[in-house]
Symmetry: C4
Amino acid sequence: MHSLRKYLYSILETSAGKRRGASLVFNLTLSSIITLNALAIVLHTVPEYNRRFARLFYDFELFSVIFFTAEYWLRVWVCVENEKYHHPFWGRLKYVFSTAAIIDFLAIFPFYFSLFATDLAIVRILRLFRIFRLFRISRYSHAFRMIQSVVSDKKEELILSTTLVVFMLIIVSSVMYYVEHTAQPDQFSSIPATMWWGVTAMTTVGYGDIHPITPLGKLLGGISAIAGIGLFALPTGILVSGFNEHIRNRKGHNRRVCPHCGKEI
Amino acid sequence: MHSLRKYLYSILETSAGKRRGASLVFNLTLSSIITLNALAIVLHTVPEYNRRFARLFYDFELFSVIFFTAEYWLRVWVCVENEKYHHPFWGRLKYVFSTAAIIDFLAIFPFYFSLFATDLAIVRILRLFRIFRLFRISRYSHAFRMIQSVVSDKKEELILSTTLVVFMLIIVSSVMYYVEHTAQPDQFSSIPATMWWGVTAMTTVGYGDIHPITPLGKLLGGISAIAGIGLFALPTGILVSGFNEHIRNRKGHNRRVCPHCGKEI
Amino acid sequence: MHSLRKYLYSILETSAGKRRGASLVFNLTLSSIITLNALAIVLHTVPEYNRRFARLFYDFELFSVIFFTAEYWLRVWVCVENEKYHHPFWGRLKYVFSTAAIIDFLAIFPFYFSLFATDLAIVRILRLFRIFRLFRISRYSHAFRMIQSVVSDKKEELILSTTLVVFMLIIVSSVMYYVEHTAQPDQFSSIPATMWWGVTAMTTVGYGDIHPITPLGKLLGGISAIAGIGLFALPTGILVSGFNEHIRNRKGHNRRVCPHCGKEI
Amino acid sequence: MHSLRKYLYSILETSAGKRRGASLVFNLTLSSIITLNALAIVLHTVPEYNRRFARLFYDFELFSVIFFTAEYWLRVWVCVENEKYHHPFWGRLKYVFSTAAIIDFLAIFPFYFSLFATDLAIVRILRLFRIFRLFRISRYSHAFRMIQSVVSDKKEELILSTTLVVFMLIIVSSVMYYVEHTAQPDQFSSIPATMWWGVTAMTTVGYGDIHPITPLGKLLGGISAIAGIGLFALPTGILVSGFNEHIRNRKGHNRRVCPHCGKEI
């Protein structure tokens, strides 16, 4: 029993990059099922496919939930092999409330809940929860560990620049509201409504559903576009440079030399 | 009296990062009131909320103005503790005309003025002045000091690139006006009107309310889009790189020490 | 016979930069014909030009195909001069399946195929194949070798960031579908349809044919625009920095020499 | 006579940064007149201003032309003081065909030509030529010398990336034309018309006047948006990094240290 648990633990939890044999097979299977789930979630909303392949979607959903449920309970059972969760009860409870386990739980729980739900609105919202199955892939992908570490490296800069973005948005939208409200009371109906213009203008998306028409509004819109895109580009610039630094570090390109003693630092 | 003034001064004006006890409590209270004011300014323009919470908005406005007025007079009273403003009269006058005090004044003055204003148009404009309350937060936020120092560091580059942007805008809009005016006399009615197209095209916002339709206009629009976004991206690029440099400097990455000889590199 | 083959090989296959005499003349002729083909492909779709210059387009097409066909067979004949393809039969077969030869073949084959095709739909698709003639220019252009080497240098980063882009797109579009579907069942008809919104929003193109209208949809659209453009800008940022590095390397800026001690730094 | 010519030359042609006395006064006057001309060119197209200030615009135009004409002949007269143009006849002829003199000529010639032109269409085009007066400011502005030197530094990269942009545009537009033409024969009427979509999509302007509607067109549009903005951002990225390098060099931030001998390089 103990050796079986140890064996299953080694299959389920071996860290990426060291997987071999049964562990590799299991993880490739799991990755494939998650990818197929992503495809099913996206395609079942197309009315035509939903009608034609209704049975297939339902069967695959059932199969996925059974597979993920079995996997969830196995993980809860074997997690005590990990030193962090070694206590039979408290360790497992601690595991159940870890981020990874919560994502695993949210990926299956809506199905069981929807069996008892009679309200269609609730069933719809529960379906949305299935996209948590996609987040499960983050455990296997190098890209997510990288973005996580970039965000945590640049946390301070991202908070600073987001503060500036929000402040700029409030100021510009408030002024624009007072300038354009009289000319377009339906479009610029309130400051929150004007903030939608602010976001689309300063991210340079510009759908065209809302834009200034008065000369003063256009002048303000022009100035705030030139000034604002600089601020709104800050988070983007920070992310890009963080990503570049991360890759440079990992590749070891950063080898610099001390100007005083000439040794590598 | 003197020691009370000194005590109040220490509460009101201690620089951020060194606040403790009463000073910290006061500044957190003030920050909260400013944030709530931002929320109130934004939400009171939503007709539904304005109707439902009219009383709450009015009471909070009254409370804010009384609080800010009291704070303003206290600051004027205690400012003489600062060496820069030590003269009882001229020092206080100098303080009243400092940037921070003017912002504080503009945040409360419209309320008192609107009590006597009977013209609705003026009352509306006075309401807009309330967004100066938001600028008060700049005294407490690290992000604003940073953006200020980035702008002052890169002042020369920003002026240069803004010159180029304005020049490019005038040239491209003038040519486009002569190309498109005959085909779309309502849209491209004058060069200033065409400059609105120029700004939306070269910041890549592109609302779609105004765009060339003649083949020659589209050719010019395409070429100026490819050439122009480079120039319009200059201020953004300067701001982003200035921001990056500033953070690198502050983190002390430029003052690194060689691990071999211990000297600064 | 052998020396003729050797001579023709030297004319056809001399690597760019070393061309002289007949080889230079031939390659300039070929480049010109390819450029004229690009012009013909683009202009023959303009109904007016197509009507007026129908004869000219047809004659040039015929001339081009004959020229390219002759060139193709000559290349197949002389390719055995290259050590990689020295075997008279297997070497030529290997050459025929090389990337360059396949592009050359795809540039002429549709013409011959269309002689026998009676279905207009197929003839149209075959015409599209003619744009492979443009790719032939890549053999002569420095820019293409550069972009190729940048993409292969940054392959890993591009795959990583594309993964993040696709993941972000699926998550954001799925949530937006459930938020906006009820309000705009025609626009946000399915998750794949919503992904079109996702791409236009997060690349900041924003055509305006599809955008959220509910307050919750606008809030989600605003947040995902600010967060998403950072991720969608990653491939762009990687390409730009790869391009910069490549040019710096090629210019030998990384192989600088110290003016004091003469060593490479 | 000779000393007058020498004196006028010192006033007219002293390089910026060394101007004093009469030279400074003259150049400030000239800069002001050019700036006022820019304003006049822009504002006289606004029907309201044109009507109201018709007389003022005409008088200022007359004054400007007389001033610029006098200045032009003075410059031709004194140019022989410069060693490059020292020959009385051939030197002056060489000066007349220098870039600066051609710009000066194009700024005044249309006025004289329009006195004899009776065709309104020609008069309109001649008016457009007046924007050459704006280019005259480039002689006085630091920003223009900087952009010129950045463009000439990065000439090769800009040509390379523009080649890639044009190639990408032709390929993507050709494929999109064959995909969307049947569904939207009016919008995607020919490949040149589709290239307008290509430019607005890949510069991320996205006016919304033309966009794919078929699923295949949207898929292609999405992929080419993600891939294409990377290429279209290359010229922008090159310009921004060239601008940054230029400023760094000018500020002397580039001081690096040799790792072998420790001296500054």
